[in-house]
């Protein structure tokens, strides 16, 4: 049983690598789209709108229905609905920061922010994520990640 969970974790890690690898391709496509439509916001809107349509199909295929139980919404925390807006914040910040900071500083600050926030979510068990306390190896892992990102961006 232990061995099985171990190999599952590696499967999940490989899947995460793949999803991460797709993201620079997305950046290239969206950068070209931005030039064609002449606005980063309309480019992002096209990206989100096509994504929404695609997800409607996936939900229909997998769940066979797109239904939200409105009676239950009252019992859900209000912040649960802001995920999509946060995605927009990220896109907008990229657009605003890039001309001021340049690509290296923009990328490094965004990635650093991601890792700090992720470790905090784990440490405090925010948003119902299982608690996973910060410790020295995790801090060292963060240090190695930052060193790696800086080396890749500098050379």
């Amino acid at each position: 049983m232990k061995k099985r969970t171990y190999s599952l974790t590696f499967l999940f890690l490989a899947w995460g690598l793949l999803a991460g690898a797709a993201s620079p391709i997305q950046t290239s496509v969206n950068t070209q789209l931005r030039e064609v439509v002449g606005s980063p916001y309309i480019a992002a809107l096209i990206s989100f709108a096509t994504g929404t349509c695609f997800l409607a199909l996936i939900v229909l295929l997998i769940d066979h229905t797109i239904k939200i139980d409105f009676a239950q919404i009252r019992h859900m925390p209000k912040w649960i609905w802001v995920g999509g807006m946060l995605g927009v914040v990220f896109v907008t910040a990229n657009v605003l920061l890039l001309p001021v900071l340049g690509s290296a500083f923009t990328v490094v600050s965004l990635l650093f922010g991601q890792m700090i926030a992720a470790l905090s979510v784990d440490h405090f068990g925010l948003f119902g994520v299982p608690k996973h306390a910060m410790n020295w190896p995790r801090a060292a892992g963060l240090g190695f990640m930052i060193l790696g990102i800086i080396l890749i961006h500098q050379f």
Binding site: A56, I66, I80, F90, L97, L101, I150
Partner: protein, 149 residues
């Protein structure tokens, strides 16, 4: 002033794991991670409609602009966005926030280096240097350290 923008970058970056955590929770509440991903994209689309109207005062694109460019330009970003966001929602409860984020970052860096190396998407070729290779190894060590403990 630059410092202010750097802090802005940190805050904007922190949005990604927070979004993934919130969407994972939403998936549990509505009983489907895919529905959660749909809701996230849908509300994001509504927000962007408002943003585009306020900033650009327009929404529409001329039909000839659409037809004179390859199809992947219009749907490629959306499809990959769906894959990335849904992966985050599915992996986060299983790997934790930190491991989910760092492993996608390593994938991102390796692909970025590959794009530079081969000059894909008309990017100027930038071959793999020793410091870049050491950088990738550092990131892998980082992932292992965060995974182990």
């Amino acid at each position: 002033m630059i410092l202010l923008f750097l802090i802005g970058g940190l805050i904007a970056g922190s949005v990604i794991p927070v979004q993934a955590s919130i969407n994972s929770r939403l998936g549990r509440e509505v009983g489907s991670p895919f529905l959660a991903s749909f809701i996230s994209f849908f509300t994001g689309t509504l927000t962007l409609i408002i943003l585009a109207l306020v900033i650009d005062h327009r929404l529409l694109i001329a039909p000839h602009t659409i037809l004179s460019h390859p199809w992947w330009l219009w749907i490629g970003g959306g499809l990959i966005g769906v894959f990335y966001l849904t992966t985050n929602i599915l992996l986060l409860p299983r790997l934790g926030a930190a491991l989910t984020i760092v492993v996608t970052l390593v994938g991102q860096m390796i692909m970025a280096i590959a794009i530079d190396q081969f000059g894909w998407f008309h990017v100027p070729i930038h071959t793999l240097s020793l410091p870049r290779l050491i950088g990738v190894i550092c990131m892998l060590i980082g992932v292992l350290l965060i995974k182990k403990c």
